[in-house]
Amino acid sequence: MLVVSTDPAHSLGDALGVELSSEPRSLEIPPPGPLSRKKRKGELLAAELDAEQALERWIGERRADLETLAERGTYLDPEDVRRLFDLSLPGVDELVGLVELVRLAGESGCGEIVVDTAPTAHTLRLLAMPGELRRFAEALDRLQERHRAVAETFGGAYRPDRSDAVIDEIEAQGRELEELLRDPARSGVRWVLLPEALSVAETLDGVQALEEAGIPVVELIVNRMTPPPPVPCPVCEARREAEGEAVEELREAFPGYAIRFLPEDLTPLTPLSHRPPPDRERGENAQHAAPVQTPGGRGRPSPGWWGGDGRGVGGEVPRLLFFGGKGGVGKTTCAAATALLLAERWPDRRILLLSTDPAHSLADALEAPLGDDERPVPGAPPGLRARELDAPETFEEWRSRHLGEVEEWLDSAGDLDREALRDLVALAPPGLDELAAVSALIDALFGKTPAYDLVIVDTAPTGHALRLLETPGVMLEWVRTLLSLLLKYREAVRLGRFAEELLELSRGLKRLGETMRDPERTRFLAVTRAAELPRRETLRLLKALDRLGIAAPAVIVDAVLPAGCPRCEREAMAQEKEIALLRQGLERCAIILAPAVFPPPRGVEALKEWGRSWG
């Protein structure tokens, strides 16, 4: 059996207590009884997928033929085509995840694969990829059509060449993956959730999307249920009551489904052996013992981590606050509470609370109807607006707004294969969610009159939050390459409004990148829980932010428990230990403790009250 993580923020190695890479490694499972160790050795292989490497391999194997197709179907010369193929792509994880899984299964000889996926939204995108592959093959086929027609005209009957074979192969890959995912005998989704209202709401949307796609859901697994307390305990009882309500809602929504419950497990991780923690963990701690960039860079910042009384250390007003972290840690509630408190504190400022996680929870947290427009939140200070970004909708709107310009540009390009290019333009781009989020940020910060003073972003979980932060750079490379191609061919194809738009986009991307790398204007608040896996992921997240040059002045530890009975006492002590470990790794980063409340805070007033209790 092979177990693989496709989440760009891998935790599989942490959970197994071993160092993993993109190549499957064999794990030794210590036998529970008298079974010989040797007998069970090699039964389980594990890997953490490296999407960039996998995509490079996938394209590399087909690159010459894909380049030929691009040259035949457009008027680009080989050098232009090479430049385009050398660019990084957004959305790599979803593009190549499934194809790579099949390759790994084939190479390792494993008949069964267990996949630890990224959180909801991006897994739905990953599972939709076979259809996108087939549409890509169709668009390539159109590009090839012209070549076939010319060849037939001059050479009689057309003989398919290598490019045709690649188109067929991509089509077949998409079709086979689609069939595999929809075949209940060969694959199934086990949906894991927490016994919390927001997690249940996300499950409703997610499972519905899977059903619509014809992908079988085998069972629902509710993880981390609070067990009955050993003695009467108000803390455990309040927790169990809140969990009970969430579970009840789940049962009502999924009457025919198998639901499995797993209790909160307080035993430390490292189930495979008593190996020391992976080396990378020690490396991270060492890294973070060194100064982490903070506003002003002078030790631990004051509680004014969000800009204190509204001014940053250098007198600049912060423009962007990102909230990010592992799935299920409480990013949305933290972002919403902060937005409400800041809007109250700065009544004359325009503040936007923007959710860029396609699996939105903001409306559920605020208990307010929200949508893809910026709208006031009932009961919240009037300066606050909130939006749940709908990326496909945004892309559709962008496409219909700019279709005229693209058509106009294609018209001026003469006798090109317009149909083929239209097919390409119509393909949903990879990394759609991140592209739409970047476009929404540029619009909110620089595009409006008046612009927002502050944008608070509730991001998708870690891996894709980092992808979002990388996206302006990736987009800028594409836009600059397109600008330079337009300049190169301007004698044949006039620049027009298409070029104007690209120029505008290039400027916006540059401005956004500068804002994001300015510690006085942009801060990333990492939200975590006092547990081993979130802590390790948080340390890696902070290291990645450091690499991207984005200031992360504070970590919010959510759901810090009060002590009650001996069981929650034990849990609270385990949390304290985790918080101490986190502090060791984050000498120059403020740690904010947000208490656990049961049921979790919902609605404007409850969120504000909860936000005021942070210490």
């Binding site: 037939e152 005209t153 003469g414 600059r480 330079s484 337009l486 300049l487 301007r490 070029a499 120029l503």
Partner: protein, 101 residues
């Protein structure tokens, strides 16, 4: 041969459209000057030219635009100011058939 014909005729039509557009642009060439300015902005954005070079191009383009407007007002071209070239007449002359030797 229908496809070949359509490809060739498509190509010829494309060239003729370009000729018409070019003539039109040269006559009413504010549009083409705007394109020059846009191209310079793109080059500046890509770092192919610096601010000084851009300012020079901008000055030249704006001066040329002023000239065109002034000459248009004076009716220098002898055409109405909103005149556009919308097509080009082309006559093909087949060369004489080579004589049999």
């Amino acid at each position: 041969m229908i496809i070949l014909d359509s490809l060739l005729m498509g190509g010829i039509r494309f060239v003729l459209d370009k000729v018409a557009a070019a003539v039109d642009n040269e006559m009413n060439d504010e549009g083409s000057l705007r394109e020059d300015l846009l191209a310079a902005q793109m080059q500046l954005e890509l770092g192919e030219i610096d601010d000084e070079e851009f300012a020079e191009i901008e000055r030249a383009v704006l001066a040329r635009m002023r000239e065109i407007r002034e000459s248009r007002e004076e009716g220098a071209l002898g055409l109405p100011s909103d005149a556009r070239v919308i097509g080009v007449d082309v006559t093909f002359e087949a060369p004489d058939e080579p004589e049999d030797r």
